[in-house]
């Protein structure tokens, strides 16, 4: 899967989550900084998104990484 598509899916998982309190502040700010600078679609951006999504939505994250629908 291309990193842009993967980042979009992960961003959807993150933004739709009701468990965002499980994402530490520093990690949350990293996501914002990467998003606002446009770097969220880079490999670093995807890596940070995976880290955040695994904490708040582990099952959905697995499905995205396997290329399945969420």
């Amino acid at each position: 899967m291309k990193s842009r598509k993967r980042a979009d899916l992960l961003l959807e998982v993150l933004m739709s989550s009701v468990n965002l309190d499980k994402v530490p502040l520093d990690l949350g700010w990293s996501v914002w900084q990467l998003f606002s600078s446009g770097e969220i679609y880079s490999s670093k951006g995807v890596r940070i998104l995976i880290k955040a999504c695994r904490l708040c939505e582990p099952d959905k994250t697995k499905r995205v990484l396997r290329g399945e629908e969420v």
């Binding site: 979009d8 961003l11 959807e12 933004m15 739709s16 914002w32 998003f35 606002s36 969420v70």
Partner: protein
């Protein structure tokens, strides 16, 4: 902030941030959003004068107005009775308190440039008071019938500049069952805090209201979904497909509303819902006023 940035880029007209003492501060959140957006009009909805004195509300609005370079509006309302009672605040004479707050805030905001003040309203008295005291109203109903009834009440003696917005709790998804499931906790929260008068009209008894309130307080979501099969959910939230939402929105605008506020949760897939809502808004704008 990510949502704020996207909303600005998708060319929505406005963005309201909810104001509850148990959530993030609306004004601090709006300040961050203001610093990271360029055109969208911002406002807290709905601030109540019981937990924040009108002088402090005006101070916050005035500061936000500077940060946002004039892109600010404000919604004042009576607040949620149940939530206020939990912190020992008695919501006395809500209509009088809100009108008084509007007048005070306006007095304090004299030097802050133009800030439109809205009143968040449900009941008939608050709706009528909004037309006399404020620049606009946020009608806090999500059902077609109640929005229609409110529009009729508002149609008497309105100034041409008075702005009518329908504040609709929205949950959309192609799979309507998923949309409904996402809407349930929001509808339940609103139902549990509703006045006995409104609940009686909907045929909801006090025992049921208390049961739902308990389930919410204990975060017992599975049981909440089990007891939320009735049509009462439709009174407090719009849920359904995007096509259904577009038809609903079009009918609401036909009632005379100038604006529809699509309030959270938006749907089980937040970003997908946001993107599709922006397309629906653009299409309706194009059809109605030839722009979009």
């Amino acid at each position: 902030m990510i949502a704020g940035s996207l909303i600005d880029g998708m060319r929505f007209d406005g963005l309201w941030v909810s104001d509850h003492y148990f959530n993030r501060s609306s004004f601090i959140t709006l300040t961050l959003i203001a610093l990271n957006t360029r055109r969208v009009v911002l406002g807290p909805a709905v601030v109540n004068p019981y937990t924040t004195h009108p002088a402090v509300i005006a101070q916050n609005v005035s500061t936000l107005q500077e940060v946002a370079k004039g892109r600010v509006r404000l919604a004042l309302g009576a607040g949620d009775k149940l939530a206020l009672s939990r912190i020992g605040v008695e919501r006395e004479k809500p209509v009088e308190a809100v009108v008084n707050a509007v007048n005070l805030v306006r007095r304090f905001l004299t030097h802050s440039g133009r800030v439109d003040v809205y009143i968040g309203a449900q009941g008939e008295r608050m709706l009528r008071a909004s037309t006399e005291a404020a620049d606009g109203v946020l009608v806090n109903w999500s059902s077609f019938e109640m929005l229609e009834k409110s529009a009729r009440i508002l149609s008497d003696n309105l100034a041409k500049t008075f702005h009518k917005a329908a504040y609709v709790i929205t949950s959309v998804h192609e799979d309507e069952a998923k949309a409904r499931k996402t809407a349930v906790p929001y509808a339940a929260y609103l139902m549990a805090g509703s006045s006995q008068k409104h609940l009686e009209r909907m045929g909801i008894g006090e025992d049921f209201r208390k049961r739902v309130q308990q389930l919410l307080e204990m975060n017992r979501w599975d049981e909440l979904y089990q007891v939320s099969t009735g049509s009462w959910v439709d009174e407090f939230a719009f849920w359904g497909s995007f096509k259904k939402l577009e038809e609903f929105s079009s009918a609401v605008l036909d009632m005379g509303y100038d604006e529809i506020v699509f309030a959270g949760p938006l749907g089980p897939r937040y970003l997908h819902a946001l993107k599709t809502l922006s397309l629906i808004c653009r299409r309706m704008r194009r059809e109605r006023v030839g722009v979009g």
